[in-house]
Symmetry: C2
Subunit: 374 residues, 2 copies
């Protein structure tokens, strides 16, 4: 036995794990007065129904294991979509479900495919599973590329975020249906942001036996801290996914509060409506300032400043105590992703952008007076 | 598109997943008056400190993501063991950590090894990872077999539950240290029940750079519903495990309440002491009835009735509204695993056993009077 075990350290990790870069958590700064618009959290608290369920929860129950099947939740969620409970799986956030799906359908001989740019977790999860991730560039306008079916053909699992992140747009339902119909593998439609969109693909689950539709409570349900997500699919798919999940993957409190949130649809609809209004305001405001912005179906806006320098805009906003998300790269580097919060926070972003890009000389309206100002 | 998509279903699962039956967690029945002694939950509620932290938690915070690193908890836990925070990883229950470890160290060329009987989740997790699980039978008295090092030599990860489940005994610290010193791979010591034992191996983490020690809050901390576990290891090991975990694997409420539980050591010690007392009472009572029982270092008792028919004992107890755990098989089938609850529940088990095995004619003492009764 050595007195300094650190010197004896030998790595027994799978080589893929050692080769991966260290885990970098998203920025969660604790700066007073900082406007945090970098992780697409909701500006609104959980619903009154959630607060009530929390207040009446008997802490003594926590000595027992949660329902490993989350049966009550699965039945309720199924009912919302006109599906039986055995078409539903619940997860510790939808990241849990993405991970389960990649582990179920992918290995060294069964690649996954995803779009680029899209949710950056997909290739990371593929790396952890030791599976190839075929990355298919989006068209220049961030729509689905026409060669997607050809390029994804080798994959066993096709991951499509709809609406997409970080771009915020939704692909065509018709084209996606055509892809699902012809793809020889599983299509996972990640609808993390679908509650903010004008339509969704939940109905694909009853139309196509190879489709998984995934949702989260971290955005539209104002419950990122809770860790809850679910997926809908053919009962045979759910049965297989269930084998992979941790037995007790969803905690008791998460089950109780997620159910309470579902039972409070009016509050939910109200929060979503307010965010959509603020989104419209920010989009039009930035257009007026000469920005490009993708028409968003989410609670964030992907926007490119007049000079096309995403990093500079990110840094200038940071100086003004506004934190947004910047993704370096030849395509994404021209843009920033701004979480849409309240109309107040949107105003702060707009006024900051107006100040930063004043030299570009667009004619802009003051928010206060409505008068034309230089 | 077919009108009945079920008929079109084609499996795209990895063949290993289709071939598996999946892990079956212990029954969670909803029968009134049932004494539930099958999943080793604590009979006591979470600590007053947990209740207090729950009461003062601001539900509005749930709109935000939890700390992905659980930094406050990692520092506190590290402090308890005289280790820095970077020697600690937190999980959504210790099952999460077991899963992470198997995914980090095992693949088709890197088998795992575990004892038999031991925690039945180990081989299940190996199956899901597509890795071989070398199962090494315990000696007849449930101690470590002398050929363990030879039989485990091919493995890259050796999983040892100490105390072991379902047998309840602890292996020798000296022998285990010797194994850790010589094993060419990672030794994961699963200390789910260590708080009920007379010693533990947490100190191995500073002695051996290839040891992971794992703990759970589901048993001794009375918080099975919360889903919290942690592991201690060399910083390099923790760094690698961190890459594999879900970014936000531990929910905000779980982080808050787990920390509160740790800050209430007196209540914790009191619950553990009461369970150890009840365990002693049950063990000696069953000895008197002619049972064999493994001297337990846990909150359960592995006991074999006078006729050696574990299934019959399980079924007779079930008729009397007492649910324990029965594991079929040539070795385990002679035994049942009984969770040790309060002294009251232990009395119910004892009296039921006395009634069931009356015909065996042991001289037994009545609990009520202390008189010798036929």
């Amino acid at each position: 036995m050595n007195s300094n075990p650190a010197e004896e350290y030998v790595s027994y990790f799978r080589p893929e794990i050692d080769a991966m870069s260290g885990y970098t958590p998203g920025e969660q700064p604790k700066v007073a007065g900082l406007l945090k618009l970098n992780t697409n959290e909701s500006p609104y608290p959980p619903s009154p129904g959630v607060r009530e369920a929390f207040g009446s929860f008997d802490v003594a129950r926590l000595r027992l294991y949660p329902d490993p099947m989350a049966q009550e939740l699965r039945e309720y969620i199924g009912g919302m979509f006109g599906l039986p409970a055995d078409c539903v799986i619940t997860g510790n956030g939808s990241d849990d479900i993405l991970n389960i799906a990649i582990r179920c359908f992918c290995d060294s001989e069964r690649p996954a495919a995803c779009l680029d740019p899209s949710y950056s977790l997909y290739p990371t999860l593929c790396g952890l599973q030791g599976t190839e991730c075929i990355r298919i560039p989006l068209a220049e306008d961030f729509s689905l590329p026409v060669d997607l079916p050809a390029r994804a053909a080798r994959a066993n699992l096709l991951l499509i975020a709809r609406p997409n992140a970080p771009t915020g747009n939704s692909c065509s339902r018709t084209i996606l249906a055509e892809i699902c119909r012809n793809f020889q593998g599983i299509v996972l439609i990640d609808e993390a942001y679908a509650d903010f969109a004008s339509d969704n693909c939940a109905d694909f689950v009853s139309r196509f036996p190879n489709v998984i539709v995934c949702r989260t409570f971290s955005k539209s349900r104002n419950l990122a801290g809770l860790r809850f997500g679910f997926a809908l699919a053919h009962p045979k798919i759910i049965e297989g996914l269930m084998k992979m999940k941790d037995s007790y993957n969803v905690s008791m409190l998460t089950q109780v509060l997620a159910l309470a949130s579902l039972k409070d649809p009016a509050y939910f609809a109200d929060c979503v409506a307010k965010i959509r209004l603020a989104r419209e305001m920010l989009t039009l405001g930035l257009y007026d300032l000469g920005f490009r912005a993708v028409e968003s179906e989410t609670n964030f806006l992907f926007a490119s400043p007049p000079d096309g320098d995403g990093r500079r805009f990110f840094e200038e906003l940071r100086k003004r105590n506004i934190l947004v998300r910047y993704f370096p790269g030849p395509v994404t580097g021209k843009w920033v992703r701004i979480t849409v919060g309240t109309t107040e926070s949107v105003s702060r972003v707009f006024l900051a952008a107006r100040e930063i890009y004043r030299e570009f000389g667009q004619e802009v309206y003051s928010l206060d007076s409505g008068r034309l100002v230089p």
